[in-house]
């Protein structure tokens, strides 16, 4: 037995839910023509808590609980207590996948096998329901008969669709009644023992099914809930035929939904699914799209409003956007549009999936981006850090006390996890030549043990990243890049070196090395306690043991205070971190997160590429022409910068100050009531006791006073803090 809306229904072996319902005199939905072939949406219902299930394709297992959806409405969303089991996923490979095991599918499979190709044949009748063809092409198959359901992701070189043809549904008034069957459905139902009382057949009658053929063109169906008569026009007369069942043999159309889902993939359609089918006569009245309830009258209305292409009519009327994605209505819609426009209308695109999927089934086997963890992830957790995702990494945003983190940097010493920075080693006889071409500043005169800040430009002279160039040896350098830009930087370096054919080896060390920034007035003292008697001076770097751990120590500054980046093997990260915290306890050391770091660097006016820059930001626009040496013979972006230098350019990144509170980043910048720019960075500076900002202005003359967040802000120079840079060099 199964249960349908509380009524217990008997089942026999081989029944689908729809057949069991029809045998009991019920309709699996609320009415409408049934096809029993999985093409239309007339029989969808909730099955064991899963909505939108095609009951004609679902075996009637004992105990199944079926509930009809509300008539004319979508089913209610399930609550959070759903006990649905996550489906399992199998990845399989195949040279050729044939969907459909009918004659044309068998022919395709046989000829491919004879040619030595590995062939997999899928057929819904054997429990392999193809729900989507995704990029690859990957054929997503719902394989029944397993618990939980298995989703097979079949990675194919080519897909052949031999899915045959679908029967046409009638379009006329009265098609929501019960007792309506396509000819194929009537044959299936009759064979399964479903009684089809007092049946009439319009069009070609099904073989072996007792029914009275009715000649003429279908005009309407009559009845009260269940059909009681068909009305046809025949030889100029309107003739009414009483009946309790109506069977429609109106022809067929390609069963091409999978092909319409995957129009640009390696998918070939054969057999009836590829054949030309005669379109039905243009419908004149009634529901054309049973799924969305679109009527011919609706089509008339959208046509009158000017939507006169098939895809536009579809979008404006919703015809074809429902459960079956046009399997029932598309031939009628094409016929209607063709008649109105006077030209053939090509089939519209179908949206996945071809079969209803649960969210679990749709998501099975797919993953969100993998976010990386630094070797200090556990340390951050232990310190109560609030972690968030930045540049593809989990990073500590804050350790819970922004003020304390900030002041530790400005007045004592602090440590920050900068393991996420891009780190690269380049070596080889042509390495200087390569770097001279890659970077807009000089490299050849960089002495051993020294480092230099550098912009990364593309061929258009736009800033794509920035970082440091550290000279390790005559023919060996260490390069650093931003956390978010590291992957692209590696490709950028490799691509250009290969393009130029230069003899340079490249090794990306981003995920092999950790890095801790030790920053603050007591940073050098902390390093001394850990065995560094003579820390590098500003813009120097050296390989030194720190707390007994081999480190590449780089002296630079992003925070505005004396700073040392300790690059080290990641298996020593936790040990080094703990040593710094332990030895610096009486110095007031504490870790700082990104929230503090972003504010500290903003006080220095340092730009964050990607946050303060736009895709077409040139060094001139961000006020960093000092980082570009146009006296060099050539470098990436040089010709673009040279060409654009004399051209007017009204966009500039500006600095502003205003009374606290700092406005939100992204706030509009106004002048005389007009929007003239946008805030890119904003911070309430504790030491300056005002808000400091960076933002874009787009019109000359640049005003000296603007309005942000309804308040006055004044343009300023940078750095806001320690403009002489004495603290960083201390």
């Amino acid at each position: 037995m199964i249960e349908l809306d509380g009524r217990r229904l008997p089942i026999v072996a081989g029944d689908t839910i729809a057949l069991a319902a029809l045998r009991a005199g019920e309709h699996p939905g609320h009415g409408g023509t049934v096809c029993l072939a999985g093409d239309c949406g007339s029989c969808v219902a909730e099955v064991d808590g899963v909505a939108w299930v095609r009951t004609c394709q679902t075996p009637a297992r004992p105990g199944v609980v079926v509930r009809r959806h509300p008539d004319g409405n979508a089913p209610p969303l399930l609550g959070g207590s759903s006990s649905l089991v996550e489906p399992s996923v199998r990845h399989e490979q195949a040279e050729l996948v044939v969907v459909g095991d009918g004659p044309s599918g068998q022919d395709a499979a046989a000829s491919a096998s004879a040619a030595g190709r590995e062939v997999v044949v899928l057929d819904a009748a054997r429990g392999d329901e193809v729900v989507v063809i995704d990029h690859g092409p990957t054929v997503i198959v719902r394989r029944s008969g397993t618990d939980p359901v298995t989703l097979v992701h079949l990675h194919a070189h080519e897909v052949v669709l031999a899915t045959g043809a679908a029967e046409l549904h009638p379009v006329c008034p009265g098609t929501r009644l019960r007792g309506l069957y396509t000819a194929g459905a009537a044959a299936v139902a009759h064979t399964a023992g479903v009684v089809l009382p007092d049946a009439v057949a319009i069009g070609t009658p099904p073989e072996g099914v007792p029914c009275r053929p009715v000649p003429g063109r279908l005009a309407r169906l009559e009845g009260n809930g269940r059909i009681s008569a068909v009305v046809v026009e025949h030889d100029g007369d309107v003739v009414r035929h009483g009946c309790a069942t109506a069977i429609f043999g109106l022809g067929s159309s390609p069963r091409d939904i999978l092909a319409r889902i995957a129009p640009d993939l390696a998918v070939r359609v054969v057999g009836s699914a590829a054949s030309a089918h005669e379109l039905p006569p243009p419908p004149v009245e009634g529901v054309i799209c049973p799924c969305s309830g679109t009527t011919v009258e609706d089509l008339e209305a959208v046509w009158a409003r000017g939507f006169r292409e098939l895809e536009l009519v579809k979008r404006a009327s919703l015809c074809g956007t429902g459960t079956c994605q046009g399997s029932a209505c598309l031939p009628h819609l094409r016929s209607w549009v063709a008649q109105r426009s006077g030209r053939p209308a090509e089939p519209f695109t179908a949206r996945p999936a071809a079969r209803q999927l649960t969210l679990g089934e749709a998501a099975a086997g797919y993953h969100v981006d993998a976010f990386r963890r630094t070797a200090l992830h556990g340390e951050h957790h232990r310190l109560g850090a609030q972690l968030d995702r930045f540049g593809g990494w989990w990073r500590p945003w804050s350790y819970g006390d922004l003020g304390a983190e900030y002041w530790a940097v400005r007045r004592a010493v602090s440590i920050g996890d900068v393991s996420t920075l891009g780190k690269m080693v380049v070596s080889g006889p042509d390495v200087v030549e390569a770097l001279e071409r890659l970077y807009p500043n000089h490299v050849h005169d960089l002495r051993l043990g020294r480092s230099r800040y550098a912009l990364v430009l593309n061929e258009r002279g736009h800033i794509t990243d920035d970082g440091m160039i550290c000279r390790d040896d005559d023919a060996r350098f260490t390069l650093t890049f931003t956390s978010g830009g590291a992957s692209a930087a590696e490709m950028w370096v490799r691509d250009w070196i290969e393009t130029w054919g230069l003899r340079v080896h490249v090794l990306d060390r981003t995920m092999s090395l950790g890095a801790i920034n030790v920053t603050g007035p007591s940073a050098a003292e902390l390093l001394r306690r850990l065995g560094v008697d003579e820390p590098p001076r500003f813009l120097q770097h050296r390989r030194l043991p720190v707390a007994g751990i081999d480190c590449h120590v780089m002296r630079l500054s992003f925070t505005g205070e004396a700073s040392f980046e300790l690059h080290h093997p990641i298996d020593a990260s936790a040990e080094l971190w703990q040593a710094l915290l332990h030895e610096g306890a009486d110095l007031g050391v504490r870790p700082h997160g990104l929230e503090a770091l972003f504010g500290l660097r903003l006080e220095k006016g340092h730009v964050i590429v990607g946050q303060d820059t736009e895709l077409d930001s040139s060094p001139r626009r961000v006020g960093m022409e000092w980082a570009v040496k146009m006296d060099k013979a050539d470098f990436l972006g040089r010709s673009a910068l040279e060409r654009t230098a004399p051209l007017p350019d009204d966009r500039r990144l500006h600095a502003f100050t205003m009374p606290s509170p700092a406005p939100f980043e992204g706030s509009a910048i106004l002048h005389e009531g007009e929007v003239v720019g946008v805030v890119t960075s904003s911070f309430d500076s504790p030491i300056l006791e005002q808000a400091v900002l960076l933002g874009w202005l787009r019109h000359r003359p640049f005003p000296s006073v603007v309005e942000i967040d309804g308040r006055s802000a004044t343009t300023s120079s940078t750095p806001f803090y320690d403009p002489e840079g004495s603290r960083a060099r201390a």
């Binding site: 199998r90 990845h91 399989e92 797919y366 993998a370 080889g428 080896h505 090794l507 092999s512 093997p569």
Partner: protein, 129 residues
Amino acid sequence: MREPEPFAGWRVVAAPPALDALEARTGAGVALRIAADDLLVLSGGEQPALDDPDAIVEPETGFVGWELDPPAVRALLVGHVEWQPPAPRPTLAQGLVAAVPAKLWLREDGSALLLCLAAYAAELEARLA
């Protein structure tokens, strides 16, 4: 799934002929040729010497790995790998495993070493659990 095993080895970037010689000396399964100019040596010890004065040779502790027996390898390939690994064994296969960048050293007996960067280990472990 067990905790992954960390590796302390060497990373060598050098001219391909120099790496060919080093790979032959080190032995398959210990030296993994992850690119024509890039060799990952999974064992520690002396710094590898090779015939390329500009070679980059660095200690490498950035990878972790899981030893998988043949049934685990089959389950991994069927459940989490969208691509077809090369047929000959032993072989190094590289690509996404559960959408995480990874490497597989596939042995003749059906077992394998699954490697990934330590930064991805927790994510991969969770996806394979």
